[in-house]
């Protein structure tokens, strides 16, 4: 995204915005946070109210990609990209498959991370470790992607006035600072501010795009004349692909470790319900807006190739900003919203990663008898080291083996059966769930490595998940757990259905 019009104003805006977030979080969201308690630090003492929970769910779910990448996708794909709206709504359906039960179970047993569920339900070191490693690996790559996006956004915003790596280091340092002081509470507070900026930036931008580049109807008419395929009912393959995305995003985004931790962090069921109820409408203000921007862009800047289309939002912004001072500062707001969207996703992923390192790797494998303060401290330090290693990779990407850094959704979604089946069926055995996760991860990553993104329209992650479920069920039937183990597993959740 090249924005020659911004430069130093961009540098000052980013710096002022980041310092504002730091000041607000330190002032409002560090009191009452114990850094010696896992639950207090990583889950805000399980006391997030409706407003903070909603905004942290919202701004964590929508990343910089929604603002920059989604209009470009709509530009290239046309009306079939409408799918990005329902698939974001379907994340709520994904939650409904397991969150109601997991919320009460997590309250009863004091879970901190998704791995705590594995530990309690399957009582197997191997299962917990494999799940933890899959989630850590997926989160690391997700974080890497956000850091790269942050670098690109900053270099676009500041037009090379300062080397972008300093910008990334500055933002990461701010995030690590408020996170290490306030944990989840600070992240939720920062997400609240970021969420408001994301909404204001996107809605302001679509309004200006409509007034400057013409209506959706005129863009559609133009598209019918120039590229009718982008307006016509797509081929069946696209419809399959569309449904595959529903499964991948609907289930995948709901079982993200940081998403699951927000189910734990809700102060009550009513809070969780209210937040999800609002979340079901947010795609109309985010991905739908990005979709309209992309379609309008087809008329404003026709004939862009794939690489050029990625610059679409920047091109539109340049034209709009040149027209008046008001427009210029409104465009500055849009670009703050890009930074806000990336920051709010990044801080949540860093916190979740740190909790996995602290509660699960250190607390379950390295030193189970450590006290909670020690675990929190270890998680913070190990998290910081990993973030800086990732920064090095983001800054100077390796020439080979790039594929191992692209696996995210594909591996993260493989923990889903342990929740979707494990919460309801005592027959799901250790062996079944373990082999299921591994086979799903191998198939999904194998497809990614060999460059096969989809097969018959189905994504690697979805095919991996299907194999995962089949293997989990078959091996659970062939190698069931002992009767006592099944009864013990059932006890973990069965109290919710005893009426």
């Amino acid at each position: 995204m090249k924005l020659p019009f911004i430069g130093w104003h961009g540098v000052i805006t980013i710096a002022a915005y980041a310092l504002f977030i730091l000041g607000t979080t330190l002032y409002l969201a560090t009191r009452g946070v114990s850094r010696k308690s896992l639950s207090s630090f990583y889950l805000a003492n399980k006391g997030l109210g409706p407003l903070l929970l909603f905004f942290t769910l919202f701004s964590t779910q929508y990343s910089g990609n929604t603002v920059i990448g989604y209009p470009a996708s709509a530009y290239r794909i046309g009306f079939a990209w409408w799918q990005s709206v329902p698939y974001m709504v379907l994340v709520i359906a994904g939650y409904l498959l397991f969150a109601p039960r997991l919320h009460v179970v997590s309250k009863k047993y004091g879970f901190v991370t998704p791995s705590d569920w594995f530990d309690k339900r399957f009582n197997s070191k191997a299962v917990t470790l494999v799940a933890t490693l899959l989630m850590t690996y997926g989160l690391l790559n997700y974080l890497l992607e956000q850091l790269v996006a942050m670098g690109q956004a900053i270099s676009g915003l500041t037009a090379g006035v300062i080397p972008y790596i300093y910008g990334v280091l500055f933002l990461v340092a701010i995030m690590l600072f408020y996170e290490s002081m306030g944990g989840m509470k600070a992240v939720a507070m920062a997400d609240f501010i970021n969420g408001i900026v994301i909404l204001a930036g996107m809605i302001g931008f679509v309004f200006l795009a409509l007034t400057n580049f013409g209506s959706l109807s005129s863009a559609t008419k133009n598209l019918i004349a120039t590229a009718p395929k982008k307006v016509a009912v797509p081929p069946i393959q696209t419809s399959i692909n569309w449904i595959s995305m529903y499964i991948l995003v609907g289930i995948g985004a709901a079982v993200y470790p940081h998403a699951i931790q927000r189910i734990y962090a809700a102060d009550s069921e009513m809070t969780l319900k209210k937040s999800l109820l609002r979340m079901a409408w947010m795609p109309f203000f985010t991905t739908a807006v990005a979709f309209i921007i992309g379609i309008i862009g087809t008329q404003a800047f026709p004939g862009l190739d794939k690489m050029q289309s990625e610059q679409l939002v920047g091109m539109m912004a340049n034209v709009i900003a040149a027209k008046s001072t008001f427009n210029y500062w409104l465009m500055m707001l849009l670009f703050s919203s890009v930074i806000a969207a990336i920051m709010s996703t990044t801080d949540s992923v860093i916190l979740s990663l740190s909790s996995l390192l602290s509660n699960d790797i250190y607390g379950k494998v390295i030193k189970p008898d450590a006290d909670e303060g020690e675990k929190v401290l270890w998680g913070k330090i190990a998290g910081m080291i990993l973030v800086f290693l990732l920064l090095l990779i983001a800054w100077k990407p390796p020439a080979t083996l790039v594929e191992i850094f692209t696996l995210k959704f594909e591996v993260l979604i493989q923990v889903a059966p342990a929740f979707l089946l494990g919460l309801y069926w005592k027959g799901l055995s250790k062996t079944g769930v373990l082999l299921g996760m591994l086979s799903g991860a191998v198939l999904a990553s194998g497809m990614t490595f060999s460059g096969v993104k989809t097969m018959w329209g189905w994504h690697g992650g979805v095919l991996g998940l299907a194999l995962n479920i089949v293997v989990s069920v078959i091996f659970s039937l062939v190698f069931p757990d002992k009767k006592e183990e099944q009864d013990r597993a059932e006890e973990v959740y069965f109290w919710v259905v005893r009426d």
């Binding site: 009306f79 409408w82 799918q83 709206v85 329902p86 709504v89 379907l90 709520i92 359906a93 409904l96 498959l97 397991f98 109601p100 039960r101 919320h103 009460v104 309250k107 009863k108 209506s215 959706l216 109807s217 863009a219 559609t220 008419k221 019918i224 009718p228 307006v231 016509a232 009912v233 797509p234 081929p235 069946i236 419809s239 399959i240 569309w242 449904i243 529903y246 009550s268 069921e269 009513m270 319900k273 999800l276 109820l277 079901a280 409408w281 795609p283 109309f284 309801y424 009864d487 013990r488 059932e490 006890e491 959740y493 069965f494 109290w495 919710v496 259905v497 005893r498 009426d499």
Partner: protein, 86 residues
């Protein structure tokens, strides 16, 4: 017993959800067709738009009316009623 409702155990929700989802994907419409245009959307994308609103409304209904589990936590303390192999 308190009134406990869990979406997964309410069977009718899921076929309705699948129907809303499938009607929003244009697999059943003639490929290549465009007209009529409604509010800037080709008719099939407009159908999908309406089904997406239906989806949000339906999920909202389910969240409000088919989900109530927290009362279990209140009567959990000390209550070791049968079930779950205790």
């Amino acid at each position: 017993m308190k009134n406990v409702r869990e979406p997964v155990r309410i069977k009718w929700i899921w076929p309705v959800l699948v129907a809303i989802i499938l009607l929003g994907v244009p697999w059943y419409l003639p490929q290549g067709s465009i007209e009529p245009i409604i509010m800037g959307f080709p008719y099939w994308a407009f159908i999908s738009f309406i089904m997406t609103i239906a989806l949000s409304l339906f999920l909202g209904y389910v969240i409000l009316n088919c989900w109530s589990m927290e009362s279990l936590l209140d009567d959990e303390s000390g209550n070791t009623k049968a079930g779950g192999g205790r």
